[in-house]
Amino acid sequence: MKKLIFVLVFCSLFTFVSSRAEARLTPRRSTLENGLILLTSEEKALPMVTFNLLIKAGSRYDPQGRDGLANLAARLLTYGTRNRTALQISEALDFIGAGLSTGCSEDLATVSLTLLKKDLDVGLDLLAEILTAAVFPAEEIDRQKQSVIASIKAREEEPGAIAERKFMEALFPQSPYGRPVEGTESGVQRIDRAELAQFYKQYYRPNRAILAVVGDISHQEVAERLAKSLQSWESGPAAEEAIPSASPGPASFIHVNKNLTQANIVIGHEGVPRNHPDFYAIQIMNYILGGGGFSSRLMDSVRNERGLAYSVYSLFDAEKYVGSFQIAMQTKNESAAEAIRISIEEMRRIREKGVSGEELQAAKDYLIGSFPLRLDTNRRLAGFFAQVEFFGLGLDYPDRYAELIRQVRQEDILRVAKLYLKPEKLIVVVVANQEKTGLKNKQ
C-alpha cells in the first residue's frame, strides 16, 4: 500500500521463531533425592528469578477444633528460624529488595520468592531456613494470632467476601472446603506452639512439595544449588492419603442483613473437580454463560441491557478434589430480586437451547488464542507449572490444550449445561439491606 522508508530503517533485528511459545511453556522436570519435584524454565531476558513452591499443607489438614492452624503455620514460616529472628529475616529480604510471601488454601500452603539473580545465595539460604528450620517463637505466634483475628474481623467489612464465605459454608457443610482457611477466632486462640511445630514437622516435607523456578538460571544450576541448600530437608513417610469427602449441602436461601446500598449476591451449587472428563466442555459452556467478560450472556443481559450491575460473572472453580459453580454480582438493593431472576433465566436458557455455532467458535478462539498470552510473565509461568504438576496434567499439557478445546462440539455444550447447571439445587446468598430488597418476605 504505502511504500514507507521507515520500514527499512526499523527493520526488525529479531527473527521470530514460531515454535518458541511452546518451548517456553514446557518446563524441565526432575525429582530431587529428597523427593522434591522441581520444574524450571530458563528465561534470560531479565536478571531475576522467581520461585513458586506448593506444599500439601493446606487447611484441610487442620486438626479437629484447630481451624486456622495450617494458615497460621504458613504465616509464621518467615517469623523466626533457628538462625534468624523475624526482624533479621525481614531486614535480609528488604535489603535485597526481594519479595517473599507465604499463603494458604484448602489444599496447599504456598511460598513465593522473587529476587535478583545476583542475590540468589541470600534468597536460597532464606528459603532453605524457612523450610527446614522454622521455630515458631511464642511471641510471634501471639502476634500472628492477633493479626489473623483482626483480618477475620476486617473481612466482615467486605460484603462480597461475606457472601462468598456464606456460600461455601452452605455448599460444603462439615467439610474443610466449606470453612474459611483463616479459621475462626476461637479456633485460632486455642492453637499452641507444640501443635504448630508438629504440623510443620508432619506436613512440610519435600515429598509433599512442588517447586517451580522461572528466570535467569538453568535447570542444572537450580538442581545443584537446591541439592546443597535443602540437604537437611528430609522426606516424610509416603503415606497414602484418603481423598477428602465433601458432600454438597441442599438448596437454600441465605440472607445477611447489612446497611449497604448494594445487594451482594452469590448463587450457585456444586461443580466438578479439575480431573473431570467434562472439564473442558464445562469451561467453554461457562465462558459463554458468564465467564467470558464482556462477551458473556450474563454481562449482556444483566449489565448491558438492563444496567443492573457493574460486575457480573459465573465461574466453575475446579479444585483437585471438589468444585463449585457460582454466579456473583452486586446490584442496588431494590433490584436484587430482578438480577437473581435474570441470572437463573440465563441458566435455564443455556440448558434448554444450548449455544449457537458462532458463540462456540468465539469461545474456542478466545481460549486457544489467549492461552500462551495469559502466561506472559515469569511469575504467571511459575504458578502455571506448579499447578499443572499438582493437577497431574502432564508436561505436554500446553501442546494438548488446543485440541482439548477444539474437540468440544455444540451438542457437548448442551449436554454439560443440562448435567452440571442445576437450577433446582441453587444456594442463594444475599448480603444486603434486606428491608430494601424485599426478598425476605417472599421466602
Partner: protein
C-alpha cells in the same frame, strides 16, 4: 483514506536505565503529522503485544456539577461507532485471543488490548475508529448510567476506606480539580447528559491530545506502519482547554471524620507535595519506602510489629501526576485500638524523622528495593507500558531515564530535608474512619 503521511524526524532512542544486561530493547518515539505521539518498546520475552491509547483527559479536566464525565465517556466509547456495534470491540478482541479494557484517572483515560503480534492489528484499527467516530448515543445511554451508579456503589458507597479517601481528598484540595472523585459524585453522574458526553469527546479525543504506547513482541517498522495507516488520517483537533488552577498553600492542619458502618477504624494522612518534575520527587519516593516498604520499614516496625496498634501501614508518594500531588500515609487500626493512639505514634515517628537523619544502611536498603522493583516491573509488558504511559502523561517519558540515576544520588541529608519540608503538620489533612454499629443487624 490517507494521502501523505508525515513523519517528524523525531525518532529518539533511549536505553532504559537498569542493569545493562536487563533491557536490550529501546524505546522509540515517533510523532505522526497529526500530532499523535507513538512510543514503541520491543520486548520479546513472551509472544504478546500490549497496545494502549492514552488520552490526556480525566477528572482533572472536569467542572463542578459535571464530575465523572471522563469516566462516563470511557464507558460509552465501548458502545460503538458507525462501523462497530455496541460491545463489539470487546468481542472482536476476545475472539482473537486478546484481553482488553479501559480505565480513567484524574489525569488520563486509557484504552488497552493485549494480543498476539499477528492479531494486534485488530486493536489498532478499532482504536483509530473509536478516536474519530464514537456514537455515544442510542439506547445504551440510560442503562450505562445505571451501570456507573452501580460501580460507584460498589467502589465507594459500600467501601468504608474508599469513602474516607474520597472525602479526605475533597478537603485536602480546596480549588484544584483533584478534589473531585474520578468516578464523580452520585448526583453529578445522575445529571450528566448525552450532550455533555459529545462535547467532552469533541474537545479531548484528538490525535494531538493523545499518545500511544506499544510494548511487546513486534517489530517496530511493521507495527508503526499499521498505526500510521490506521491513525494517520485522523485530522488534528483544536488544542483542548488548559487546566490552570493552582492549589493555594495550605496553612494549618485540616481534619475530616467519616462515621460509617465498618468493622475497624482507619487512619489516613495526606501531605501536599510537588509531582515528579520537582527534583525532590526522588527523595520523596525513597521516603515512602523507608517509611513502609517491607516489614523492616519504620512504620511497620513501630506500629504493626512493636506496638501492635495497626494491622497494616502504607506510604505512597503520588508523584506520577500532572499537577502537584499528595504524599499519603494510611494505617489499618487493630480491633479495640484507638485511632488517636495510632495517630500519636505516627506523629512521634514523623517528628523524630524531621530532626534526625536516617542511617546510610536504611537509605541503601530503600534504594535496593526500588532498583529491584524496577527490574521486576519489566517482567510484565503491560506493567512496562503502564509505567511509560504514566511518565509520558505526567512529565514526558524521558523522565523515566533520569529515574534510577536520580534515586541513586539521594543522600540521607536529602531525606531529612524533604521530610522537614513536606511532612509538615500544617500542610496535612488527617482523615479518620469511625466505625458505627449496624442499625439493623
Amino acid at each position: 483514506m490517507l494521502g501523505v503521511v508525515f513523519f517528524l524526524a523525531l525518532i529518539v532512542q533511549a536505553f532504559f536505565p537498569s542493569h545493562a544486561q536487563a533491557q536490550t530493547s529501546q524505546l522509540q518515539e515517533v510523532v505522526l503529522g497529526n500530532g499523535l505521539k507513538v512510543l514503541l518498546l520491543e520486548n520479546h520475552k513472551s509472544p504478546s503485544v500490549t497496545f494502549q491509547v492514552w488520552y490526556r483527559v480525566g477528572s482533572r479536566n472536569e467542572e463542578d456539577g459535571k464530575s465523572g464525565l471522563s469516566h462516563f465517556l470511557e464507558h460509552m466509547i465501548f458502545k460503538g461507532t458507525s462501523k462497530l456495534g455496541p460491545e463489539e470491540y470487546s468481542r472482536i478482541i476476545a475472539k482473537n485471543g486478546g484481553r482488553s479494557n479501559a480505565f480513567t484517572s484524574a489525569d488520563h483515560t486509557v484504552y488497552f488490548a493485549t494480543m498476539s503480534r499477528e492479531k494486534i492489528g485488530f486493536a489498532i484499527d478499532m482504536e483509530a475508529d473509536r478516536m474519530a467516530n464514537a456514537l455515544l448515543d442510542g439506547s445504551y445511554f440510560e442503562p450505562e448510567k445505571k451501570v456507573i451508579m452501580e460501580e460507584r456503589r460498589l467502589r465507594t458507597e459500600d467501601s468504608p476506606t474508599s469513602a474516607l479517601a474520597e472525602v479526605a481528598g475533597a478537603v485536602a484540595y480546596t480549588v484544584h480539580p483533584y478534589r473531585r472523585p474520578v468516578i464523580g459524585w452520585m448526583g453529578d453522574i445522575q445529571n450528566l447528559s448525552r450532550e455533555d458526553l459529545r462535547s467532552h469527546y469533541r474537545s479531548y479525543y484528538h490525535p494531538n491530545n493523545a499518545f500511544i504506547v506499544v510494548v511487546g513482541d513486534f517489530s517496530s517498522g511493521e507495527i508503526l506502519a499499521k498505526i500510521t495507516s490506521a491513525f494517520g488520517g485522523i485530522p488534528r483537533g483544536d488544542e483542548p482547554p488548559k487546566v490552570k488552577v493552582a492549589e493555594p498553600l495550605q496553612r494549618g492542619e485540616r481534619r475530616v471524620v467519616l462515621k460509617k458502618e465498618a468493622e475497624l477504624p482507619f487512619l489516613l494522612i495526606y501531605y501536599h507535595t510537588p509531582n515528579l518534575k520537582d527534583p525532590d520527587g526522588f527523595a520523596l519516593d525513597l521516603l515512602s519506602v523507608i517509611l513502609a516498604g517491607g516489614r523492616s520499614s519504620r512504620l511497620y516496625q513501630d506500629l504493626v510489629y512493636q506496638k501492635r496498634i495497626a494491622r497494616g501501614v502504607e506510604a505512597d508518594y503520588g508523584g506520577l501526576s500532572v499537577d502537584p500531588t499528595v504524599f499519603s500515609i494510611t494505617a489499618q487500626v487493630m480491633p479495640d485500638k484507638d485511632p488517636a493512639e495510632v495517630e500519636r505514634a505516627l506523629d512521634n515517628l514523623i517528628t523524630r524523622m524531621r530532626s534526625e537523619p536516617v542511617s546510610e544502611r536504611e537509605l541503601e536498603k530503600a534504594k535496593n528495593q526500588i532498583e529491584a522493583g524496577f527490574v521486576f516491573g519489566q517482567d510484565s509488558i503491560f506493567g512496562q507500558a503502564m509505567r511509560i504511559g504514566q511518565y509520558e502523561s505526567a512529565a514526558g517519558w524521558r523522565y523515566l531515564d533520569s529515574y534510577l540515576p536520580g534515586i541513586r544520588k539521594v543522600t540521607t541529608g536529602d531525606i531529612l530535608e524533604v521530610t522537614k519540608k513536606y511532612l509538615d503538620p500544617d500542610r496535612r489533612t488527617v482523615g479518620i474512619l469511625i466505625p458505627i454499629k449496624e442499625k439493623n443487624r
